[in-house]
């Protein structure tokens, strides 16, 4: 029974440490149902750690630990809960079911020794008590939804037999198979060619519209942010330096870092009336 006014996800003062190093420092933001939130920042800014922390994967996979803060999840028709404080067996039920995730490099993110079908079916059956046959049926359905041509054949393939774009579609199919409330996409298009990137971004957008899932898009690419995000969180050196609606961030950045960052972004079409190449008008920023 959650109040519809409450945000779907609320992160308050989250701090994550690896040993003595603070990877995420007092980070707070909110995610509303159905919206796309972009977390942007350069390498080492803490954006990926933040994403992993939301699913508490940072402890399992990277030996980091959440030292303070809360991650409040308010799923519709369910009791709100603090993910930062949830035991592992309960978390396991949330992963893949309420929150799921796709990663940057779809070749390494899929297990190379298992077929696509095996990995999809496993994802479904670990949360749903259904027969293998129905799970395969669901997997096939998802394959169609992510517009993989000839899905019956591709289902039997191994990851390395698919192209990069196909693999990322499989990842998306796997992540969205159980209609999660939140999809966390960690640099989902960075490893892909620009045409494929456009396809994947479009696909995520389409599916989001169909299912109403909220999306957290982790990226360093301001172009992607500008194209897909409703709101933006800008991170730098483990901290949030600025957040707000996407137009505000692009049109009227407040923080010097955001300004500097935007100045360095090449914008297609900005040179349309210039004859010679031109250097970037870099903004000096305080370190």
């Amino acid at each position: 029974m959650s109040d519809s006014a409450l945000p779907l996800l609320e992160v308050n003062n989250l701090t994550v440490k690896f040993g003595d190093f603070t990877a995420v420092d007092d980070v707070s933001f909110q995610l509303n149902a159905g919206e796309t939130l972009a977390i942007v920042g350069e390498s080492g800014s803490g954006k990926t750690v933040t994403a992993l922390s939301l699913m508490r994967l940072v402890e399992l996979s990277s030996r980091g630990r959440i030292t303070s803060g809360e991650i409040l999840l308010n799923p519709p028709n369910e009791i709100p809960m603090d993910l930062a404080d949830l035991p592992e067996d309960k978390l396991r039920k949330i992963r893949g079911e309420l929150i799921s995730m796709i990663f940057q490099e779809p070749l390494t993110a899929l297990n190379p020794v298992f077929s696509v079908q095996s990995q999809l079916v496993e994802a479904i059956r670990s949360h749903r008590d259904i027969s293998k046959a129905s799970a395969i049926e669901m997997a096939l359905d998802m394959m169609r939804k992510v517009r993989i041509p000839d899905p019956e054949q591709r289902l039997k393939r191994f990851p390395h037999e698919l192209s990069g774009g196909m693999r990322q579609r499989v990842m998306i199919a796997q992540a969205l198979a159980l209609n999660p409330q939140i999809l966390i996409a960690d640099e989902p298009t960075t490893a892909l060619d620009v045409t494929i990137q456009a396809q994947i971004l479009g696909l995520i957008k389409d599916l989001q519209e169909q299912t109403g899932s909220a999306v957290i898009m982790i990226t360093h690419d301001m172009g992607v942010v500008a194209q897909v995000a409703d709101r933006v969180v800008v991170m730098r050196q483990s901290k949030v330096v600025e957040q707000g609606p996407v137009e505000q961030i692009f049109d009227d950045p407040q923080h010097p870092y955001t300004k500097a960052l935007l100045a360095a972004v090449p914008r297609l079409g900005s040179m349309a009336d210039k004859d010679a190449p031109e250097k970037f008008p870099l903004v000096e920023q305080d370190a």
């Binding site: 390498s43 060619d193 045409t195 957008k205 690419d221 942010v225 970037f280 870099l282």
Partner: protein
């Protein structure tokens, strides 16, 4: 300076053998010219053959057919001894600067290495020469004693540039040289490269998949698709007036860093076909037509 182009490729081919007699036709019938002081960008998606083209031009790969003329001299089948003198004029920088540097070697040594190999600088003046190169790429010379891991990605790429500049080349091939860098660092490195071009009269062959960056740096642009150049022209011609459907598709796919210019995505499905051809088969050669002076486009049968 003569009017001879610095680099001229004539009907350049490069194939690799694959299993069962099939062949990867990585570079197919490429004709290109690169003038002195010019930046020519080669764009295209992964597997289109742009890196192979770069490697073939600089003779890291021997061409399967065709010619590469450096300053009018055919270097495409030159023996390694002879080639060495010519190779001084061409240097290459790769995407991953960390992999290009020996982790156990002081960066100063790495930069001075080509000078030693070619014996162009006496040992006595070596330190000063290297210090000068460091200053050139905006690095303090006192970091010469440090090791690669002590530097950030951008700094490492500067070191690679310094090393490439040591022999005072005329051509620098930048093979995705800024793709792995954070956007602010990328901008700094690109600005540096432009400064150096101005200062030293360098020519760049700029291999990239990032059209937004290419738009910023290139004088001329070649669009590659399945080993062949399908559109070639000045940056303005190609970006403002793309003629080939593939160029249009590429440009259309680039996300523009402006939320007001949000594109309504028309889902274009499909992927680039494979450049691997079975034994006995080869890609059909495109024919170019000139749509405006210096702007050539492959004829498509639509």
């Amino acid at each position: 300076m003569s009017n001879t182009p610095l680099i001229e490729c004539k009907a350049l081919y490069k194939q690799f053998q694959a299993a069962e007699g099939a062949a990867v036709h990585a570079v197919v019938n490429v004709d290109l010219e690169l003038a002195r002081g010019e930046t020519l960008a080669v764009v295209g998606e992964s597997g289109c053959g742009k890196s192979t083209l770069a490697n073939t031009i600089i003779r890291l790969e021997e061409p399967s057919a065709g010619q590469v003329l450096l300053d009018g001299v055919d270097i495409s089948h030159m023996g390694s001894r002879e080639l060495r003198q010519h190779r001084q004029k061409m240097q290459i920088i790769f995407q991953d600067p960390f992999a290009s540097l020996d982790p156990r070697r002081q960066v100063g040594k790495a930069v001075s290495e080509p000078l030693r190999i070619h014996g162009v600088t006496p040992e006595a003046g070596m330190e000063e020469t290297v210090a000068e190169l460091f200053r050139k790429v905006s690095l303090p010379p006192d970091v010469m004693q440090n090791y690669p891991h002590q530097f950030s990605g951008g700094q490492r790429q500067r070191i690679c540039i310094a090393r490439a500049l040591a022999l005072q080349p005329e051509l620098v091939i930048a093979d995705e040289a800024v793709s792995a860098l954070d956007v602010s660092v990328q901008a700094q490195v690109i600005n540096l490269m432009m400064d150096l071009q101005e200062e030293m009269g360098l020519s760049y062959l700029f291999i990239s998949h990032d059209l937004a960056v290419v738009e910023r740096v290139a004088h001329r642009v070649a669009v590659m698709y399945l080993g062949q150049i399908v559109e070639l022209g000045t940056r303005k011609q190609v970006f403002n007036n793309p003629q080939h459907s593939y160029t249009q598709k590429l440009l259309d796919a680039v996300p523009i860093a402006d939320p007001k210019a949000r594109k309504k995505h028309v889902m274009i499905e499909g992927e680039i076909p494979s450049p691997i051809w079975p034994k006995g088969q080869s890609p059909e050669l495109v024919t170019m037509r000139e749509v405006e002076p210096g702007h050539q486009v492959a004829i498509e049968d639509l």
